[in-house]
């Protein structure tokens, strides 16, 4: 399993792997926001937590179709299905690699971009915490969507349509934590709920994803 994660990491970092793509996209979204809403710093600092969360979520979408599609096309997935580790483990490894290449860099980049949007100082810490807790769920849900659409050519748009509604709870709780953090409000409840959603997703969705993969490989 560790080998699988390392292999996916190596593939992602190599040219054409789309490693920097998500980060660049995140940067561009954040830069475009002031152009759309005006440069008023008080407005920007109010919406900064939400915009950063939305940007991170959209950047996460970009690389989802890579999770299984390439391995499906060249037959690696068939081999993995016959490998001694269960398919659920493969899904977890793949989602983990996706998180390491997108979720983690996005989390680390978010505070830097927060400066651009004039994020209030107490918000930085909670933004990082909420993203660190929320992005694993985004990767896992995305892996489920990718497993569903792996057999479909040009499934990218469909993948977004399927995955985005599933992102709603994570986005709501995550952005709520970041917003309350920025406004110095009590944030225990949304933080616990965010962690709960992520925990449940990481615990249960591998089974659904592996089921979908088995159907697609039949």
């Amino acid at each position: 399993m560790r080998r699988l994660i390392l292999r996916d990491l190596a593939l992602a970092v190599r040219a054409g792997g789309g490693f920097g793509l998500g980060l660049s996209f995140f940067l561009i979204v954040v830069v475009l926001v002031p152009f759309a809403l005006g440069p008023d710093t008080s407005v920007l600092s109010g919406i900064a937590p939400g915009v950063l969360w939305l940007g991170a979520l959209l950047s996460c979408l970009l690389s989802l179709d890579r999770i299984f599609a390439l391995d499906y096309e060249d037959g690696t997935l068939d081999l993995l299905a016959c490998a001694p580790i269960p398919l659920e483990g493969v899904v977890i490894a793949k989602a983990c690699a996706h998180w390491l290449t997108t979720g983690l860099p996005l989390t680390l980049a978010a505070p830097v971009l927060g400066v651009l949007l004039n994020l209030p100082v107490p918000g930085f810490w909670w933004l990082v915490v909420s993203l660190a807790l929320g992005t694993p769920a985004l990767s896992m849900i995305g892996a489920f969507g990718a497993a569903l659409t792996v057999g479909i050519r040009r499934g990218g748009l469909l993948l977004s349509l399927l995955v985005l509604p599933l992102y709603v709870p994570t986005l709501i709780f995550g952005a709520e934590v970041a917003r309350r953090g920025a406004e110095r409000l009590d944030l225990g409840v949304p933080l616990a709920l965010l962690a709960g959603v992520t925990g449940a997703v990481v615990a249960l969705l591998p089974f659904a994803s592996a089921g979908a993969l088995r159907i697609n490989l039949r």
Partner: protein, 242 residues
């Protein structure tokens, strides 16, 4: 004779051929009587004026929007467990109907909300949940139409339906948490405090019955169409092989 006998497509076709006209007529009757009664012969509400008449389409369509998804969930589970094709096709047949019901509930709600709340749309928990439900329907229908092999499509959409149900419930609570609402409570709850008055109640029940029957009719007809399409597909495949 057990319920599962109807999982045989031939038997299903034979039985529903007789049932469809009956439910169609019944649903037309219930809808006509319920809506005409509601529209022409009920008084205006003292606060909401004549807009209260929208309740006869808004509440039934909203109920069917949720019930349709519940039916799809049950049909998907039956398909995954017992592999009855009729079940999978019924789930597929119900999805567009449920989507239209959701759309009707959203549109009538927006039209009703405009004079009552002074806005077409508010990010109220109930409204938002319905919008999310509509997105789930769209994704489900899109996934069905994207996959060519009918069995794989049935399997994958069933998985999506089950996971989607869990997330729909989760979103409902998340959205409740996220914003307090303008929307009033349940129209049919046991609690007399928020229950609608009797004058509105009986035509509303009839309208709901009409919507339920309309849903049943449409799903049966669409399932019959899907079974025929499946048979057509099989015949074409066989012709290509020969």
């Amino acid at each position: 004779m057990s319920l599962w006998e109807y999982a045989n497509p031939t038997r299903f076709m034979a039985t529903t051929r007789r049932i469809v006209p009956v439910v169609a007529v019944l649903s037309a009757l219930c809808l006509a009587v319920g809506l005409v009664w509601g529209f022409f012969f009920t008084p205006d509400d003292y606060r909401q004026g004549s807009t209260v008449k929208i309740i006869y389409i808004h509440v039934p369509s909203a109920m069917m929007a949720i019930n349709a998804w519940a039916m799809m969930l049950v049909a998907s589970l039956i398909w995954l467990v017992r592999r009855h094709h009729v079940s999978a096709l019924a789930a597929r047949a119900a999805a567009p109907v449920g989507a239209v019901m959701t759309l009707i509930a959203l549109i009538t709600g927006a039209i009703w909300g405009q004079p009552m709340w002074g806005t077409w749309w508010a990010w109220d928990p109930r409204l938002t949940s319905f919008l999310i439900l509509f997105l789930f329907y769209l994704g489900y229908v899109a996934l069905w139409s994207a996959i060519e092999d009918p069995d794989i499509a049935a399997d994958l959409t069933s998985v999506l339906c089950i996971v989607g149900s869990v997330f729909a419930m989760l979103s409902r609570y998340a959205v409740n948490f996220w914003n307090q609402g303008l929307h009033q409570g349940a129209s049919l709850s046991m609690d007399r405090e928020e229950h609608v008055a009797d004058v509105f109640y009986y035509p509303l029940l009839l309208a709901i019955a009409g919507f339920v029957l309309l849903f049943v009719t449409l799903v049966l007809v669409r399932t019959r169409t899907e079974i025929r399409a499946r048979r057509l597909h099989a015949l074409q495949m066989r012709a290509r092989m020969a």
